[in-house]
Symmetry: C2
């Protein structure tokens, strides 16, 4: 038997400190070695479950002492391999840090531990007439959503995580704990560390606590679907609504294939045509005014009459159908894996970008559908591939690379909300050029040993 | 004669490259050695006027070669000594870079050089039915506004510079040029360099170009003033409006002293009582609905009836009166200098914070007034001091320090929008604690020689 490896020594140190809150079981490691994306699984050597910021700091210190990689883990719902332990090491699972610490109704903010799930927060806020707006579909943790810079269906109106986090508590690579901001709504106090850690994907520090903005539940909410002869008509409607400053709260596109999947999966009976899912928030007067204005635009683009969902139950049904489009897609091809693209372009180029992308989709040897946060210029193509078939995977990867290049050429980005992770590192280089060297310099400054989530964001 | 100093060698190099676009005249240097704040003047050794990003990069390279400090200069309207050349060196004045490069009506964005002034941009946008929302009062340059993380009267509705910049072009300390983002509205492509440079006050790089969001001019705009028996009533009205989600576009407080100053300076005849300046944007229907809702809240707090300004001329008059409150204050005490505080607190603590601050103001030996972006929890106390009287200056500094400490104790910040600059460096340490060391590490990573705007943000 040789000398213990550094991982073994770290595990020994962690076991001494964390006891049963450390596990090396194969099943636990397997859960922590992948996310919902399509990238290869890499198991960590162990998983630790801290219960407080102090415990995260202690775990990080022990790992740092032994120079062992550290991967923070929330709900594992990321899509670009953000949590895969490419070099083994320790997965720090934040699920025990699931306390909602404060809800300040008067200030419309809340302070939560990083392991709080979005839906759990909204359940508690809802009892007080409040909601947290960022909605990526999956029931992610708030810490994970901040780490990936998540956005979603309501971003057109309420913004992404960047817009809705006031401050973070972060454990740095050496175990130091910092607060990146205060509860003030506005600040110009030095560098914007809050926004630096949002979207840093666990490579600069581990987010353990967040202070987020929340909103009062609008007096009136109404949702509707509207189908169109072509994707171009649906996109044009969304964009004109935004250009006119109509404050739509959600504005989501599903193409005809997506609608067929949703009809089958959710037992709905909507037209199998390109469809916008819309939601309006406000007073009864403003909602009807906004809806009338969007209806007029839709009509000019040959949209159908709106089919309304006004009660809470009808709305929930509609939005779970939309949110389950991912699973509806998966159900179209039993046993398949799903790979999602994430391009975003200036809205003036969106119709053209989707158009060219659909031409590209038509040549694919497997099913694919378009799901779009179209009012933000962001859309996903869900590619339904046979995960065992290397040929299909290669075709899907090449399709994604073409789409990223198309977005860049149109002044856009390879990722609107999923992040870089393991999967988009080459696309980032193509997109950001010398700015990637600035990111690397920041990484070296805050994590000189390169222990925090290695191999993510940057190519080696 | 001794050997030339490094500054002299840099000036020689710059003169060779820039000819007449370099000046060492006393008057030019004096203009570039101070801002509108109250901090001591420090002259740069020379001022250079580049005309392009490439020229900025060349100037930076020459300065870097000779290890000479570099201070970027926009309009000089900052308030915390951001542009004072504490160690001499070269002031890089961006005023020749005043081109509006693109306005994309369909995408609601614009690309401008850093030296474009806010009002010039709005003039050109206005012809196309658009506007740029961030309004700090002063006619600052866009580059300067990004560098200080500016905000202002419309931030409650449209956000600050952080929310309205899509991408920056930046010259780094070694002359490298990077773009921090794309024209996509949403991005999760690596670290958020855009937000890192916003508010970095010229200490990490020189912003030479910005891509900003713009908005369609609302169909209907109406402004009103409403006076209250006490500051507390006015503040409560503002806060309740925000808590109810009423999308007020501006919501500004002036106290009784401020109203007296404005009446005298602008020839107005408003009540000399705490007053809210309000603006509503939307359709005719939504504006009247929003105004009615705020009116009801104001009534419950003993507010007066709204006095409306509906035409463009009336509105301009009203808002220039508000924006000129600074000069109106100065006029109250001929020959005085003005020193402004900038605390921001959670809105639930704002009334209490202003109340305690007014008690503190009552003991001051010079006039002072309150100007507040109250719906954001941010307010300024304008202190009208005899700049030649060291005693008054010391009293003003001590008052500001007490207010910063009060804001910290209430979960707020020492600066909502003016930035740290030279003046708030101690307050930043008190506020951010170990996070300041993270900021320092970022500074060292991007400017290892410490040439970019030395002595700002950080204490030596």
């Amino acid at each position: 038997m040789g000398a213990p490896t550094s991982a073994e020594r770290a595990i020994e140190g962690l076991r001494g400190r964390f006891g049963d809150a450390l596990t090396t079981s194969e099943s636990d490691r397997a859960i922590h070695g992948r996310d919902e994306g399509s990238w290869p699984t890499h198991l960590p050597d162990a998983v630790v479950y801290p219960s407080s910021t102090e415990e995260v700091a202690e775990a990080v210190q022990i790992c740092a002492e032994h120079r062992v990689p550290i991967v923070a883990f929330g709900a594992g719902t990321s899509l670009e391999g953000h949590v895969i332990a490419t070099r083994g090491g320790i997965s720090i699972d934040l699920s025990r840090m699931n306390a909602i610490l404060e809800i300040n109704v008067d200030d419309l903010d809340a302070r939560v531990q990083a392991g709080v799930h979005r839906m759990a927060l909204n359940e508690q806020l809802g009892r007080m007439g409040l909601f947290f707006s960022v909605d990526p579909g999956a029931d992610a943790t708030l810490g994970g959503m901040a780490a990936t810079g998540a956005a979603g269906t309501t971003t057109v109106r309420y913004g992404s995580m960047r817009d809705n986090v006031l401050a973070l508590r972060v454990v740095l690579a050496d175990g130091t704990v910092i607060d990146t901001g205060t509860r003030a709504r506005k600040s110009a106090a030095g560098y914007d560390l809050t926004r630096l850690f949002i979207g840093s994907e666990g490579t600069l520090g581990i987010i353990t606590e967040l202070t987020v903005r929340v909103y009062g539940i609008p007096e009136h909410i109404a949702a509707a679907v509207c189908s169109f002869p072509t994707v171009g008509d649906a996109v044009a409607t969304a964009i004109e609504a935004v250009q006119l400053g109509i404050p739509v709260a959600r504005c989501e596109l599903l193409d005809a294939v997506g609608m067929r999947a949703v009809n089958e999966h959710a037992g709905m009976d909507e037209a199998e045509a390109p469809t916008l899912f819309l939601e309006f928030h406000g007073t009864e007067g403003s909602v009807s005014e906004d809806a009338r204005a969007v209806g007029a635009i839709a009509g000019a683009h040959d949209g159908s009459a709106f089919r309304w969902a006004t009660t809470q139950e009808e709305r929930s049904r509609l939005w779970s159908a939309r949110h389950n489009a991912w699973f509806a897609g998966l159900a179209m091809r039993p046993g398949c894996r799903s790979l999602a693209t994430d391009a975003a372009v200036p809205v003036s180029r969106l119709a053209e970008c989707i158009d060219q992308t659909q031409a590209d989709m038509n040549a694919l040897p497997f099913p694919a559908l378009v799901i779009g946060h179209v009012a933000d210029g962001n859309f996903h193509v869900q590619l339904l591939i046979d995960g065992e078939n290397d040929g299909e995977m290669a075709v899907a990867r090449a399709f994604t690379a073409r789409l990223s290049a198309r977005a860049h050429a149109m002044g856009g980005t390879c990722t609107g909300e999923h992040g870089i992770g393991f999967g988009k590192r080459e696309a980032l280089v193509a997109e950001a050029g010398p700015a990637v060297e600035v990111m690397r310099a920041l990484k070296r400054a805050l994590d000189p040993e390169g222990l925090l989530n290695p191999d993510k964001i940057f190519l080696a």
